[in-house]
Structure formats: C-alpha cells, structure tokens
Symmetry: C2
Subunit: 301 residues, 2 copies
C-alpha cells in the first residue's frame, strides 16, 4: 500500500470502493480537482477553443474505427447488458443465490467506456464536413476508464481528463504542441510542483506493441510531463503531449481546407493525478498551501 494513499484514506479524501483503483471522493479532494480543471480551462481560453463535455460511455463502433483495439485491447471496458426474459431472470437469480457467476447472460451492448477523452471527438468533427482554413481547436473533458487495477493512487481505473485537441495541417498541430510544451511547464510551476518533460510511449499490447512503442519514441510522437507522486523513482505522467500524425484524419475522413487528411494532436491533463500531486507536495490541509498556489487555483476566495 502506498504511503500517500494511506494518508489520503486516513483523512477521508479518498474512500475505497472495495475495488483497487476505484475511489469515492470527499468534497475536499473534489474541490481541488475542480479548481485544477478550471485552471486548465483558463490556461487555454485565450485561443478560444470549442468547449465540449463528454459522458463516460461512447459507441463501440467509433472506438473500433479509431483503431484502439490494435493497440490497447487490455485496457478497454465494454458494456454488457441483460436482454433475457423472465426465465432467464430466474436463472440469473439462482446463480446469485448460490454465489455463482451470474454474468453469462450479459450481452455486449453498442457502448463501451471511453478510454481517452479525445476518441468521441473525431466522429463529431468528421460529421461536420471539411475543416475551415484554420483547422479546429477543442477543449474537452471526459471520465475515462482503463482496466489496470493498481494500489498506486495515481493509477486509477476510472479518472478524468481535460484535454485540448488540435485538428488541421501538420504545421498547425506542431505549433500547437510546441506552445503547450511551454505553457505546461509554466502551469506546473504555478502550482509549485517539481516536474520533468520526457519522450514517452503508450502501453501498446504484446510483442508487436513493442515495435509500435519503439517507433512512437523514435518519431517523438509522445511526450509526458512527469511528477513524482507516489514513487520518487518512477514519476507519474500528469500531462501528455501527443502527435497523432494523420491517423485520425484518415480513419474518419477528416479533411483540411485543401482536401488532405487532417493531422491531429492533443494535450491531456490528468485531473486526479494533478490533484494528487498538489496534496503530495503541499500537504492534506488546503488552507495551509502556499498563498501563491491557492491564488493560482482561486482557492483563496
């Protein structure tokens, strides 16, 4: 068990649900998380993104079309439902009574849990037709799910991401990513948490996945802003800066104004992880945090 998690649970900031990586949250934790989310929004507001909020579930078909199953089948949570009749229901209840598995009658629905905030965006943008000259910029927020039970409080199964997504020409996306490299380090510094930025790779599945990870690193498609939260030796990715090339543009036929498949990139902020970093570096008593940090987060009102 992590020391930080022990402390958070002893103070009631996080409450175990009974399953690793799924927590109930006190208002103290949630108020900081909302303050972080609002700060993320203010940090990107000058560029006038379109702000959208997503529910925790999305269509199965859309995630498949985006190619997620090739890369991360192990993280996905599909949603299954009971479509049986009364006899099936009686069978189900007998299983429950006898303490046996009861889910064999659950059938896959057309929904699954959103694994990363930007997936529901691409079909939405595609449906609107060709992009304008200056491309698209979006500020999105979603609950995400990844099946990776852990005792590290910074690796939850169900967590929230606020994210800026840029869709347009490769130049537009690279300028966007460069801008956020600078902004993100100012962001972390305004919260007085120590961080480093490094090249990274996603946790692609299996042996073919190792090649994908190597290629992603070689092309420097992913960077992360890392903060030591639960483990000094293994800092946690609290923001990530992703360049997708024209992967989503091709998958969804999103065209730039001159008819080419659009490029895209995103900058994601892990809201729980940033919240945990604040408690880790400034203590569990928010009133005792540095004045400057409280002011940045508008917690001093």
């Amino acid at each position: 068990m992590s020391t930080l998690l022990d402390q958070l649970m002893a103070e009631g900031l996080l409450i175990s649900s009974g399953v690793d990586g799924v927590f109930l949250r006190s208002i103290r934790f949630e108020s900081v998380l909302e303050a972080v989310a609002a700060l993320v929004g203010r940090t990107g507001a000058a560029d006038s993104p379109e702000v959208l909020c997503f529910p925790p579930a999305m269509p199965q078909a859309a995630l498949v079309r985006s190619g997620y199953l090739k890369s991360f089948p192990q993280l996905l949570g599909t949603i299954h439902c009971f479509c049986g009749d009364e006899a099936g229901h009686r069978r189900l209840l007998r299983c429950v009574e006898e303490n046996e598995p009861w889910t064999d009658q659950q059938e896959p629905s057309d929904l699954l849990l959103t694994p990363a905030a930007c997936y529901p965006l691409y079909p939405t943008v595609a449906r609107r037709g060709q992009l304008p000259e200056n491309g698209g910029l979006y500020d999105i927020r979603s609950w995400c799910f990844r099946h990776e039970p852990s005792l590290d409080p910074a690796r939850m199964q169900t967590f929230q991401i606020r994210e800026f997504v840029r869709i347009g020409s490769s130049e537009q996306v690279l300028v966007f990513r460069q801008l956020w490299f600078e902004r993100a380090q100012e962001f972390a510094s305004s919260l007085a948490v120590p961080c480093i930025v490094d090249v990274a790779n996603d946790p692609f599945f299996g042996r073919p996945g190792r090649l994908m990870a190597d290629s992603q690193r070689e092309q420097k498609l992913k960077y992360e802003l890392l903060i030591a939260i639960d483990n000094e030796a293994k800092p946690t990715a609290c923001m990530s800066f992703n360049y997708h090339l024209n992967h989503f543009g091709e998958a969804w036929n999103i065209e730039t104004a001159d008819g080419a498949p659009a490029f895209s990139g995103c900058v994601g902020f892990g809201l729980e992880r940033l919240t945990l970093a604040l408690f880790r570096y400034h203590g569990l008593d928010v009133a005792g945090w540095p004045e400057r940090v409280r002011h940045t987060l508008r917690l001093d009102a």
Copy 2:
C-alpha cells in the same frame, strides 16, 4: 424524433454520439447543468450533509448485495475486459477486420456502471460502524447508467444525479422526506418550471415486478416531481423521493445507535432532466431567461 431534441441538436447544445441516449454536450448545456447541481447543493447545505462524489463505476459485488438484480436486471451495464494473450488478440483483430462480432473474448470484470447514485454509499457507511444518535446525512453526486436507449432527450442512457441520502431511524427518514417535499416544490418554483408531485413506482422487471410496483405504490414508498419536458401528456420525473424502509440497513448491517437495522431514504435530482426543463420552458438562449431564474442559478454574474 422529439422537437426539443431537434432544437437542441440544431443549436449544438447536445451532439449525437451515434447511439441513442448518449450525447456530447456543449459548454452552454454543461454550464446550466453545473448551475443546477450547485443550486441543489445550496438548497441542502443548511443541514450540513457530508458531501461525496462518486466515479461512474462501482463494484459488482456491492450492487448484488444491495439486491439490484432482483428488481432491475434489464437496466444494468456490466463492464467486461479482454484478458487474452497475443493469439487471442490476433483472433480479436481478425474479427474486427472481417466486420464480425469481436467481443466473445471479453470477460466480466469486478466492476459495473453505477445505476443510481446511492448504491456506492451503503457499503461505505456500513464500514464505518454503528451510526451516531442523529444518523447520517449525505449529499452525493454520480454519473449513472441505465440501458434504455430512447429518442426522448429526457431519457438518456448515461446521466448525472445529485442526491441527498438520509440513514437513521424511520422517524428521521420520514421527517427528511417530508422536508424535501416542501423544498423541492420551492426549488421547481424558483426555476419557474411547472410541476406536479405524484406517487410513483420503479420499473421493476417482469411479472413479479408488477407486484413489487403495486406494493411500492400502496405503501407510498416513492414520489416523483414531474415536469412536462418532451411530452405534454407524459411528464418526466425530474426529482424522486424514495423511502427504502430498512432494506439497505439489513442488506449491509447498518445499525442505528440503538442497534436496530437502519432505515434510509433519498431525494434525487436528475441534472440533465432539470437542465432540459429549463431550456424547454425558457428557451435556448440563456441570456434571455427570466431575471429571477438567472439570479437563482447565479447565471447573472
């Protein structure tokens, strides 16, 4: 297709995900929803409830122990994950390439989607031991999931509830419910939306469910505050007032200060439904809403 949904989608307040009852939301919709949620919180704040926020998923075992499967198997969404190896992954990808169902390797996890906000609360309260003399009062918020695809915008599959839960003696719970009957009608009136309060029943499954529904109505265990949103003839439940007798106290061994199984009740506010009611009665342009309503919601700042 509903006229209101047509209007909301034409103005971009709700955006179809491609699956009925699952919507992306614009910031205009979300800002009103958050204002409603905050108003719900302020309405109950004088009683000093413990405020908790829940993630969209909860342990399967906890919902089973609460008896949900007896009553509403048809609404539940269980979460299933791929636990296969590389050969299994190749098989999965072949299915995807051939446009065949690919979910047969998904295995049930120990999680499911929370179907109503209060279910994760009972195990948490139970773990804390015997209740104090004055029982417990909680202000909770959760994303909820119910598998009932619909074209009625007021019947989403994934939606949010903010809810007050009272746990204690039957007297404490009945006093709480009576108090909220009065408050809820003032609440609706402060939003200038027409409403009625009526006895109701839950959508229990199958023929045995009809008996459960009749018994629930006879004992007046459930009331709803109804507002005509999408359908004048069939108003929508936007709040519900539920008396659970000692069902959860017995299921979870929650004891009052004198050692009896605790009684419980809850008052739930459907945040999307109340938001839809506001757009339905005051129009899609929030700036044009009655001054009094904007003031109540603190949208006039």
